[in-house]
Structures are given as C-alpha cells and as structure tokens.
Amino acid sequence: MIARSQRERLLDAAIDVVAEKGYAKTTIADLTKEAGISRTTFYEMFPDKEACFLAAYDVAADVLARRVASAFEAAEGEWPARVRAGLEELLGSLAAEPAVARLALVDFGAAGPAAQRRYRAALQRMTPLFDEGRDFAPEGRRLPANTSRMAIGAVVGLIAEEIEAGRATSLAKILPAVLVATLSPYLGPEAAAEEAGRG
C-alpha cells in the first residue's frame, strides 16, 4: 500500500517537474525531492529518469483518454453530439492543467524516441471513437483508409498550436474549429459546419 502511494507520488512529481524544468534539465534528485522519497526507493521502482517519465506519461495519457471516452459515452444523441462532448472534455481537461497539456502535446518529443512512441500510442487509442463517424458519411461515399488518423491529427495539431501560442488556458474557445476539423472528414464540410454551429 505504501509502495503504491510512493509510486503515485513519484509519477505525479515526474509530470510536474518535467513540465516546469523541461525533460533534459530534470534530475533524479529533483524527482525524489518533489516526491519526498529516497534515491534508493527511486531505483527500486525505475532504472532511470526516462523509465520513470515514460510511466508517468502513460498514466497521464490514460487518465485523459478515459475522461474523454466517458464524456463521449455518457453524452446523449448521435455520434456528432457525442464527439462534441468528448472534445469539450479534452479541451477542458487540458486547459485546467496547462503545464501538463504542454508536456503531453508539445514537449513530449524532447524525451526521445520512446516518448514519441508513447504519444502516438495515446493518439491511436482515440481511433475507435472517431471510426464511428464513418457510418455518418453521405451514402455511397467511400472514405480514405486513414480518415480517422488524419482527423485525430488535425485535432491535436490545432490544440498544440494554441498551447504553443500560450493560449492553453483558453482552449475552450477553439471548440468550433476542432469540432469542424473532426466532423468534416466524415460528414463533409457543410454538414460539419452546421453541426458545429449547433449547441
């Protein structure tokens, strides 16, 4: 029980410290200090800084993905309405923790190739939510194979640009743009604009 809570504290510390100092400048001493654990305890759990950061990244991505998925599942209505709910949750969660948002969507790459793969895997997990949109394409139109990957890329790209521009806390404002970017590849731009204008 105690070991578990130490691990949790350490993973929280990893996100906070890396978000503040940047990955390259973060030391294991920073992490143990922030988490209030000993160096020995750190090395019992992780072989190095990278392993600790990657575990923390996984947890943060997992929490975010679950929040988005449950907002999506809980929403009333058809796919476009549920997508709106999921995206609202995504933007809201990121805006509430701008430092984490920056780390998760912009600065992750600084931690090297393994972190890059973690980020891609996290994006991949959103694919099923997007794939449902295929059923909403106007009849007889066969969408390209990578439609969902591209829609996800557009969403995170638009969000990352806001974060880079220092507007993480006002992410909620870009909901219409993000919604149109998500819906257009499936419904077409006109129907997507109509949907986005609703609500």
């Binding site: 990955y23 390259a24 600065d107 992750f108 790459g109 600084a110 931690a111 090297g112 190739p113 890059q116 793969r117 891609r120 994006l123 394409a137 106007p138 139109r141 066969r142 969408l143 390209p144 194979a145 990578n146 439609t147 990957r149 591209m150 829609a151 996800i152 890329g153 557009a154 995170v156 790209g157 638009l158 990352a160 640009e161 870009i174 219409p176 743009a177 149109v180 970017a181 257009s184 590849p185 419904l187 077409g188 731009p189 006109e190 129907a191 604009a193």
Partner: protein, 247 residues
C-alpha cells in the same frame, strides 16, 4: 445532401496571383533550394558529412541524447574540425534542417506552376513531397520528427516551412465558392492532419511507403475548399495518376 460545389477545378487558374511561390519562400526567409553551398571543396565535403551524420544520429537516438562526439564519429571528422564549422550541436542540426527544408521547398517549386489548377498543384506538390521523404528516410525522420522537438531555432524553421504550405493551400479560396463555409482554421487543420499521418508512418518504420498516402493527403487537404464529393474525386484521381504499383 448538400449540393456539390461547382468550382473550376479543371478550368484555368485565376490570372493574378498575389505572390508566387518564390516570394512566399523568401518572405519566410527560407533557403530556396536553388543556392549552392559556397565552401571550399574539402570543408564542403566535411560539412556535408557532418550534416548527414547529425541527421542519422538524431534519427536513431533522438536529438536530446545525441552528442557532438556521436556526430563526429559517424562523420569520421575530428572534433576540432566540427568546431571550425559549427558553434555547437544545435548549430549543426540547424544547418542540416536548413538543407532539408531547402530540398523540400525545391521539390515543391519544381512541380509548381501558377498555370496549373489549384487542385492539381496540391496533388503534384504532395506527391513530390512524399517521394522526397521516402527517398531520404534519415532526413525525413530528422525534419518531421526530431526538428519540431529540438529547440526553438529548428522549430521556427519547421514552422516557417509549414506557413509556406499553408499559404499555398489557402489559394483554394481564390475562386468564388461559398467562402463562409471555409473556416479560418482550414489550412492549419488540414496540414496538421497530413503531418500527423506522415509522422506516424515514419515512426512505424514505413517511410519508404509514404507515397501510398497520397490519396489520403489529397483528400484531407482539398476537402475544406472543394467539398467532400470533389475531394474524394481528387483522391481517386491521385490514385490513378500515381498508382501504388509504381512506387
């Protein structure tokens, strides 16, 4: 179903362009891909070896973990020579990034013509870009994966390359269509979508097969401007013009 947009996709391009592509590139202060490296021959080749080496090493280890020692070893160049040519790791990486970007812009300039219909221009530029990345997997990885995450200067170079592409895409607005239906974020969203697909393909080790993504990329980049039906038609045409068997 919304009515299909009528648009002069196959018609002639509008006669007056506000800027041509060279001006766009110049405006972003990017190397145009047309300048030769102006160094003495030996320094030139050592410099080139270092640029290739920095691309290879960062592609393999990531920018953060790459050291000047790694780059010198891979290039077969002494540390002293490295410091004669570059200030530090970032300087060397930045030079390699400039070279890659010059190539990328060069590949697009080569197929660009103001007389081509916009949709054809988008398709040809995307095809040329994907072919270039596929033919240089190391530089592709450096430019598309490492550069955006490797510090301010390289990030700015990458961002200005993207702005050139955005301006080219935004010309899709020039012909009179129902403009109000095109959101201001259209080009940024479309490029982010294409970028994400390309980076994913590079990270899974499928760089050589990037040209197969052409129909997808043509679809997503023309969609906001042409509407869904026409964008799907453009994607099918891309498939025909650049069949997978040829790749």
């Amino acid at each position: 179903m919304p009515p299909a947009r009528s648009r002069s996709v196959n018609g002639k391009a509008s006669p007056s362009r506000p800027q041509d592509i060279d001006q766009l590139i110049e405006q972003e202060q990017l190397p145009s891909g047309r300048d030769d490296l102006a160094e003495p021959p030996v320094a030139h080749s050592q410099r080139e070896r270092l640029l290739v080496a920095v691309a290879e090493t960062t592609a393999e280890k990531g920018y953060g973990a790459t050291t000047i020692g790694d780059v010198c070893t891979a290039a077969g160049v002494s540390r002293a020579t490295f410091y004669e040519l570059f200030k530090d790791k970032e300087d060397c990486f930045h030079a390699a990034m400039e070279l890659s970007l010059a190539d990328a812009m060069g590949s697009i300039v080569a197929v660009y013509s103001p007389d081509k219909p916009w949709a054809t221009m988008v398709r040809d530029a995307a095809a040329a870009f994907l072919e270039l990345l596929a033919s240089r997997p190391t530089f592709a990885r450096m430019a598309m994966v490492e550069a955006p995450a490797s510090g301010e200067r390289a990030f700015q170079l990458y961002a200005s390359g993207k702005r050139v592409l955005q301006s080219l895409l935004e010309r899709g607005r020039e012909d009179p269509v129902e403009e109000e239906a095109i959101p201001t974020s259209a080009a940024r969203a479309a490029l982010a979508a294409a970028e994400s697909l390309i980076v994913g393909q590079i990270l899974t080790g499928n760089t050589a097969r990037l040209p197969e993504l052409l129909p997808d990329i043509v679809y997503i980049t023309t969609l906001p401007y042409l509407g869904q039906e026409e964008a799907l038609r453009q994607a099918r045409e891309a498939e025909r013009e650049h069949p997978a068997a040829d790749r």
